[in-house]
């Protein structure tokens, strides 16, 4: 599994990879919001937690179809499936690599972008914590979606459609955590919920994903 994670990170750093790109996409998305809704600072600060979370989620979404599809297209997935590593391991490695190359940088970038939107200072810690935990669950769910759609050429849009509904609880809990922190409510409960959700996802999704991969390789 380690060589796989290492290779995926290398590929993400190479040309056409997704490392800096997800970040840049996040940046542009956040910049788009003032263009769309207008530059009112109070308004922007109010919607900042939600927008940051949605932005991170969409940036994450956009790199999902790379997870398995590239490997499927050049025959690597067949070769990996017949190599002596279990499919659940493969699935976990893929999701982990995705999180390292996407979720982690997004989390780090969220703080300065939050400042651009005028996020109140009480929110930053909770924003970073919720994103760090939440994007892990997003990566695993996204990996599941990628496993389901791996047989479909350029299935990016279908993948999004399948994955986005699964993202709803994570989004709600994540954005709520930050909103509550800003409003002076106690955000620990929602963050704990979020952590539980992530744990559940990380524990169970690899099995579902390996079933989907198995079916798709047939």
């Amino acid at each position: 599994m380690l060589p796989l994670i290492k290779r995926d990170i290398t590929l993400a750093l190479r040309s056409g990879g997704g490392f800096g790109l997800a970040l840049a996409f996040f940046l542009i998305l956040i910049l788009f919001v003032p263009f769309g809704v207008g530059p009112d600072r109070v308004l922007l600060a109010t919607i900042a937690p939600g927008i940051l979370w949605i932005g991170a989620l969409l940036s994450c979404l956009l790199s999902l179809d790379r997870i398995f599809q590239l490997d499927a297209e050049d025959g690597t997935l067949d070769a990996l499936a017949t190599a002596p590593i279990p499919l659940t391991g493969l699935a976990t490695a893929k999701a982990a690599a995705h999180w390292i190359t996407t979720g982690l940088p997004l989390t780090v970038a969220s703080a300065p972008l939050g400042y651009l939107l005028g996020l109140p200072s009480t929110g930053y810690l909770w924003l970073i914590a919720s994103l760090a935990i939440g994007t892990l669950s997003l990566s695993f769910l996204g990996m599941f979606g990628a496993a389901v759609t791996v047989g479909i050429k350029r299935g990016g849009l279908l993948l999004s459609l399948l994955v986005l509904p699964l993202y709803i609880p994570t989004l709600i809990l994540g954005a709520q955590t930050v909103t509550r922190a800003i409003n002076g409510d106690n955000p620990t409960a929602t963050l704990a919920f979020l952590a539980g959700l992530t744990l559940l996802t990380v524990a169970l999704i690899p099995f579902a994903a390996s079933m989907a991969l198995r079916a798709n390789l047939r």
Binding site: P3, G16, A79, T82, A83, L217
Partner: protein, 203 residues
């Protein structure tokens, strides 16, 4: 060591081959013959464990098997050497003279994306050597190779079998493999028994 008993190989809803049986011992090389669309790829995928047979049984340790398909499993963004290192990592084998054996030494630092069709195929075949597996399943391995490299690959294959390995090869070309058995797979074309439950009865 590698026995197949009465398996039915399926593709989508269709049974493509039925009652395929053979048994290979260490050192055996089996060549699959049949025209286009007769089911060579289907059979190899079934043997590799990618699509389970819908009937019959395959006795083999899946860890012993390495399979090369029509596609090369080469990452275009990595260099030739990096591709090789990656597969060594996956199969957890030590690095050896792979580059030389597959005539890739000069290309080692090139991005795999810039290889010609034949060069890429050689890199794909190198995985056989890297894996250290005993059983090689090869789907038209010599596609895109020039005459010299076909001969060289046949030598690699012969060496592998001579040292106790097993190979199942589908090919349309004549490969110079002195000790190979040939299996004409057209004999396994399914008879009128239906594998598909939707073809039974009438409604």
């Amino acid at each position: 060591m590698f026995t197949v008993k009465n398996i039915t190989a399926q593709r989508g809803p269709r049974a493509i081959l039925q009652n395929v049986s053979f048994s290979l011992a260490a050192g055996d090389c089996l060549i699959l013959r049949g025209p286009n669309g007769s089911g060579k790829t289907t059979l190899l995928r079934t043997l590799a464990g990618l699509s389970p047979p819908s009937a019959g049984e395959i006795n083999v340790n899946p860890e012993d098997i390495v399979y090369t398909a029509h596609l090369d499993a080469v990452k275009p963004q990595l260099t030739v050497a990096e591709n090789i290192v990656f597969w060594h990592g996956i199969y957890q084998t030590a690095q050896s003279d792979t580059l030389k054996r597959f005539n890739l030494t000069d290309l080692a630092q090139r991005d795999a994306a810039t290889l010609s069709a034949g060069q890429k195929r050689r890199l794909g075949l190198a995985r056989l050597h890297i894996s250290g597996c005993k059983i090689w399943l090869l789907d038209e391995p010599t596609t895109a190779l020039d005459a010299d490299h076909v001969a060289e690959f046949a030598q690699i294959l012969t060496d592998h079998c001579a040292s106790g390995g097993i190979a199942v090869v589908s090919t349309h070309l004549e490969l110079p493999l002195p000790n190979a058995q040939t299996l004409d797979i057209t004999q396994f074309a399914p008879t009128e028994t239906h594998a598909d439950p939707f073809l039974e009865g009438s409604f």
